[in-house]
């Protein structure tokens, strides 16, 4: 039998074990795990890895001899469970947040009332590298800018949820949410049905109907495509997966051409007009005539067609201004301003480095802080005060003092833990949660689940896949 009694998480919240023992929501799972031998569990872990490998759910690591080695994103077979009660709070909190963020983007690219009324400083917007002047005044279909959002959540020491960051541009990882469930079905079929786990597999259908509803042309069968940077992009598997699940063409920039402010794809029987583009490349690569002139990934003239309203882009261009880490601190204010409501989900306390008092407080307590660059993501541009050397902290102070707008600081929060199967034993590892919210003309829908990312290194709080993180299937139990 595997060792199923890990050391308790004394400093934070563990999702499976409390001081009294196994939490109710995990009792069935724990019972199943207890009934399996060490060999059986290890076999299941290996089976999951093989399934990922054979399905090509991999990324390539290049070595010196230029021969790429394909690796899978590590998947831990022990599911992460969230109760219905907790999920309802998460769901309503994300809906509220997304509603406010959409109103903010519509406002910021049009009237800018939130600036005029002094809620957000104009300088903060103007200095944001992801604020796109070129789309100022644009009218997007149904006034929706964020059609798909990945909101990163963490749990504090009492199990309370915090929003760590909003991903409103090209949030990735949803294919792992879906594939993780498919893998779990194969390795723990009984466990899934006996726990009454909510379904996530309808996500592509919901998303596809939203994409179709955004077509500028009033035609019965608009052309919707998924635009990828190409086969060498690290998220290419996800692009192909979603295109296949939605039954839409997977196009690259070179497959598209703009003529007379309309976008066409090059097919074997000539040009065919495109109505909606779910694009999985960043704003700055979309159109070499407007952004990076040397980008070969985009389509010349695309932004012009977009401005004319002849093609819908999902997500809208310029959303980066709303998920900038410095703007993040103002989201609770946005919720109050646009919705006249108190935020349901809390922000992690955030210190704005432009504010001298807050900066001095951070400098005085750096070992308890995480410093983040506002224009970085994926775990890059981050300094953990409790792990950094004195030299690294001194360098950070100099950089912050030089360009305070480019940094924020947050107290280090001990993320909650979930047991993982490591070397045949259950060991506690830190996790976060990224649910995916879809926003269309009929409102906001969130499939009950999400991507649980796990920091596989003992004690690590960095869950990003680019930093060695893995993932788990996430169960919302009814």
């Amino acid at each position: 039998m595997a060792k199923l009694a890990p050391s308790l998480n004394h400093s934070g919240w563990d999702e499976m074990f409390s001081k009294e023992g196994v939490r109710d929501s995990y009792s069935q799972v724990f019972k199943t795990l207890q009934s399996l031998s060490h060999k059986n569990l290890t076999n299941k872990q290996q089976q999951a890895s093989d399934l990922f490998m054979n399905q090509g759910i991999t990324f390539t690591v290049y070595s010196d001899d230029d021969n790429g080695i394909e690796r899978i994103f590590p998947f831990d077979i022990i599911p992460r469970i969230i109760t219905q009660k907790d999920w309802l709070e998460v769901e309503s909190g994300i809906k509220q947040r997304l509603m406010a963020l959409n109103l903010f983007l519509e406002d910021i690219y049009n009237e800018q009332n939130i600036i005029k009324e002094g809620i957000i400083p104009a300088g903060l917007i103007a200095s944001c590298p992801h604020y796109i002047q070129e789309v100022q005044g644009i009218k997007v279909p149904h006034n929706i800018h964020v059609h798909i959002a990945g909101i990163d959540l963490i749990r504090g020491s009492k199990g309370e949820f915090y929003v760590l960051e909003d991903n409103l541009r090209c949030p990735s990882g949803v294919s792992y949410m879906l594939e993780n469930r498919e893998i779990t079905k194969r390795i723990f079929p009984d466990m899934l049905s006996s726990n009454h786990v909510s379904m996530v597999s309808n996500y592509p259908m919901i998303f596809h109907s939203i994409l179709v509803s955004l077509s500028p042309r009033n035609v019965s069968n608009p052309n919707v495509v998924l635009m990828t940077p190409g086969v060498y992009n690290s998220a290419y598997y996800e692009h192909t997966y979603l295109a296949r699940q939605m039954g839409i063409p997977l196009v690259e920039g070179r497959d598209l051409v703009v003529n007379n402010n309309r976008v066409y794809m090059k097919t074997t029987s000539g040009l065919q007009q495109v109505d909606v583009i779910y694009r999985r490349l960043d704003d700055e690569y979309l159109d070499p005539l407007v952004f990076k002139p040397d980008s070969a990934l985009g389509v010349p003239g695309l932004i012009s067609a977009y401005r004319q309203g002849n093609v819908a882009l999902v997500n809208a261009v310029g959303n980066g201004v709303a998920d900038d880490k410095a703007i993040y601190a103002y989201v609770p204010d946005m919720i109050k301003y646009y919705l006249n409501e108190e935020p349901i989900l809390k922000n992690v306390p955030t210190y704005r480095m432009e504010n001298l008092d807050e900066r001095e407080h951070v400098f005085a307590n750096m070992e308890t802080m995480v410093i983040k660059e506002t224009n970085q993501s994926g775990g890059y541009g981050m300094i953990m005060g409790n792990k950094a050397t004195q030299e690294e902290m001194d360098e950070a102070k100099i950089a912050i003092t030089k360009t305070p707008r480019n940094f924020i600081a947050q107290p280090i929060i001990q993320l909650s833990t979930v047991p993982c199967l490591i070397d045949g034993e259950l060991k506690l590892r830190h996790v976060d949660l990224r649910p995916y919210a879809l926003c269309g003309p009929k409102g906001i829908q969130i499939v009950p689940g999400g991507l649980t990312r796990v920091a596989l290194t003992e004690g690590s709080l960095v869950v990003n896949s680019s930093q060695g993180g893995g993932s788990k299937d996430t169960w919302i139990i009814k």
Partner: protein
């Protein structure tokens, strides 16, 4: 049939199937030569030469030096990174094309190509080829290709993608049949009245999956002219030149059904002339020289057709 398809994706499916068909043919030829190499009493004048001449870029001298060196050939053909046409490199190229058209091929097909890719990249494969495991490896790879063809047949939708896949596959197969036939007729000066025995032709026929059919269809004497009938003119033989051309013709008709472009008509006429050239060749009175010409001209015209076909459908850049 779907109304259209991205040119890039059509290109990807065309080449995916050309590469897989090439791998299939090459492995079958390798398997045949390898198994027959155990029969030392056979007076084998060529060894692996036909395989190396058609499927590699090696120089004549190099081929002469290694044409009986089984271990070298096995490693060079199966997993040598420097050989552009090794099974490993062909599977890599096939997979790249499959990745580019992943939303148009089935999950089952993708997973199979992917599992072949991982197998070909396993680090111990070259070492194993030096041992008695070599035969197991070749057998496994042959079965993988059979399975690929089965999955392709059973799971892929019959739309435009299927047409491009089928045309790519059969252009490649036709070129293989012609080239391997040349490899066995050239050393005997295309002598149709020669007395080469069945042991000589067995290599060619096994390499083209046609040995059993030959035994069942033809009497057991004066093989040379009968072999020509089987590999070029036999409509029941899935690797014959005429069968593959007929197959290409069927799928060209599907592609051009609703296409009134003058370029399409030109290409269709070009292919019609090629097919008629073979179909109306008088097999009964074929001379040695005419056989050489038919094989050479058909090959050249098919290569030209493939180029023009690509220009018409895949010029997306």
């Amino acid at each position: 049939m779907g109304a259209n398809m991205l040119s890039r994706v059509a290109d990807g499916m065309f080449w995916l199937n050309r590469y897989m068909e090439r791998t299939d043919g090459m492995l079958l030829t390798l398997n045949t030569s390898y198994i027959l190499s155990f029969d030392k009493e056979i007076n084998d004048s060529q060894g692996y030469k036909p395989l190396l001449e058609y499927y590699t870029d090696l120089s004549r001298d190099k081929i002469h030096a290694i044409q009986y060196d089984t271990t070298y050939v096995l490693k060079y053909i199966i997993c040598d990174n420097q050989n552009d046409n090794s099974v490993k490199n062909l599977v890599v190229k096939a997979r790249e094309n499959a990745r580019g058209s992943q939303d148009k091929i089935t999950k089952e097909l993708w997973e199979h190509i992917n599992s072949m890719y991982h197998y070909m990249n396993s680090s111990d494969l070259p070492k194993k080829l030096e041992t008695t495991d070599a035969l197991k490896i070749i057998t496994k790879l042959n079965k993988d290709l059979l399975l690929y063809n089965g999955i392709l047949q059973v799971t892929m939708p019959r739309g435009l993608g299927w047409c491009f896949s089928s045309i790519g596959k059969h252009i490649e197969r036709c070129l293989q049949t012609i080239s391997m036939t040349q490899a066995y007729f050239a050393p005997i000066n295309y002598n149709l009245e020669g007395e080469e025995d069945l042991m000589y032709w067995r290599r060619l026929l096994l390499s083209l999956s046609g040995y059993e059919l030959y035994l069942k269809s033809y009497s057991n004497i004066s093989h040379n002219r009968k072999v020509v009938h089987q590999v070029i003119f036999n409509m029941d033989f899935a690797h014959s030149v005429i069968y593959t051309l007929d197959f290409i013709n069927t799928y060209l008709n599907c592609l051009f059904k609703d296409n009134d472009l003058s370029e399409a008509r030109t290409l269709m006429n070009q292919f019609g002339r090629l097919k008629s050239y073979v179909a109306y060749t008088d097999y009964q009175h074929l001379t040695n020289q005419e056989l050489e010409e038919v094989l050479r001209n058909t090959k050249n015209q098919l290569i030209q057709f493939s180029t023009d076909f690509s220009k018409l459908f895949f010029s997306y850049t």
